[in-house]
Amino acid sequence: MPVDWFPLWLSLRVAGACTAISLALALWLAYLLAGRAASWLSLPLALPPTIVAAYFLTRPGFTWQIAVAAAIVSAFPYLTRSAHAAFRNLDPAYENAARSLGASNWRIFWRVAMPLAYRPILAATALVFARAATEFLLTLGIATVLASPVLLARP
């Protein structure tokens, strides 16, 4: 029996795109807010996937991009929250020292903040990727036409 790799490929594509986009957005927002407490960042987590799915159902045209968008909605808060916590855990002495040495924010982010905070962010990224790849409700809701990542055969 020939194996149909399409659903697996689709899952990975959706999860990969979702993780990449969420990570970029989350790092940017988390670093921006690193100076203050921002517990409201977890607020979107209160959104059940069924509601997200229902919202995206009202959009015309079921494409894999829409599945990505839906997955981002649920992945983004997780990542932002972890990244924010990771950046806030950094000793501000490092950042102050870097700033007094004349380093730009961009340089501080890549050379100081990220190397020191990447571990928890990496862990959260792996979780989010796994979750996006196996997200059942969302995909079942809006992308059954394309095939759900969990349904390994096309209907």
């Binding site: 000793d91 002495a93 102050n96 020292a97 870097a98 007094s100 004349g102 050379r111 100081v112 020191l116």
Partner: protein
């Protein structure tokens, strides 16, 4: 010109108000904890924003509350060393310095870093991570890193700095250094200017040795560790014989002439503990011999501190104490030239 003028209120009850110029060389900020020393350093570096004032560094305005100028820390060119050990832990010593040298051309960068590591005797440790360094090496590394970036002003808020290290810094850096310290001996040995701070106020400012030798107020005398501070009244003044007569609360004293004062003025008298001499009570009383009861003896590493009644504290050498410890009664001598009239 470098001038620092700033005020900052921190509720409840703390308010900082200072105004002083900064000369090349070491300016020491000396004061008890919570005097506002670190807040001054943070404000100059740009990590704390004053409520009002102006910070001028080499004629460049770093902060001006009225003109709404607040240059971000990364463009202030202030080297900033704090007691928070701040070498980046994921970078080796060489990489730490290279980070600071980012603004220079490639060849120049390597040369500067190597030279600075050499200067602070860190050349053997260039590939070491900060975690494997001793606290003193970390401090040297942080200073070397700050100097690689060519600051115009060096801010040091760290108690590990000693005279030798300060000399090494002076050899590598010609600009002004603002040093927060609680070590009066270091101020005397290595600081050009001294600023006494207490509870956010400037108590006294001037050449370090002059300030330490001649406090001009009671607060300054207390900060500088004068244990004998007495309130009194001038009862006689004689410029021709260079003498004055003072009536303190418990006893009279004779001092040198006090210019700028009149008979009847209320004054404070401060005397260092080491300047007092003690004698056996049986001795014939002479000028400024005050009979006193010994209340407490405390042994120091190099001396013995004697606390007498009437609030008199004397510090004498150990051999001197051994010679006199069997005195039945005591007299304290106040040498006239040791009296500081405030």
């Amino acid at each position: 010109m470098t001038q620092i003028r700033l005020t900052r209120k921190i509720p409840p009850g703390f308010s900082l108000d200072v105004d002083f110029p900064l000369a090349p060389g070491v300016t020491a900020l000396f004061g008890p904890p919570a005097a506002g020393k670190s807040l001054i350093v943070d404000s100059v570096a740009g990590f704390a924003e004053p409520d009002a004032g102006r910070i001028l560094l080499d004629d460049v305005i770093l902060f001006d509350a009225e003109a709404r100028v607040n240059v971000p820390p990364c463009r202030r060119r202030c080297g900033y060393i704090t007691d928070r050990d701040a070498l980046f832990p994921h970078l080796t010593l060489r990489q730490n310095l290279m980070f600071a040298a980012g603004g220079f051309a490639r060849l120049e960068r390597h040369k500067r870093v190597a030279e600075m590591l050499e200067r602070f005797q860190l050349a053997a440790l260039i590939e070491a991570l900060p975690a494997s360094l001793t606290p003193n090496q970390k401090l040297c590394g942080a200073i070397a890193r700050a100097l690689v970036a060519e600051p115009k002003l060096l801010l040091i808020d760290e108690r590990g700095v000693d005279e030798a290290l300060l000399q090494a810094i002076r050899a590598a850096f010609a600009g002004p250094i603002l040093l927060v310290t609680a070590d009066l001996d270091l101020c005397y040995a290595a600081a050009g200017e001294l600023l006494l701070l207490d509870a956010g106020r400037m108590i006294q400012r001037g050449p370090a040795r002059q300030v330490i030798e001649t406090p001009t107020s009671v607060d300054a005398a207390r900060l500088l560790g004068f244990p004998n501070v007495f309130n009194g009244e001038i009862t006689a003044l004689d410029p021709s014989r260079d003498s004055s007569r003072l009536q303190l609360e418990h006893f009279p004293l004779t001092g040198t002439y006090v210019p700028g004062h009149f008979r009847g003025d209320r004054v404070w008298v401060a005397v260092r503990a080491e300047d007092l001499r003690v004698h056996a009570g049986e001795l014939e009383p002479q000028l400024n011999f005050i009979a006193a009861d010994l209340r407490r003896v405390s042994h120091r590493t190099r001396s013995v501190r004697l606390e007498f009644s009437q609030g008199i504290v004397a510090e004498i050498s150990r051999p001197e104490y051994e010679r006199q410890k069997d005195n039945k009664t005591w007299q304290v001598e106040f040498p006239p030239e040791s009296l500081r009239i405030l």
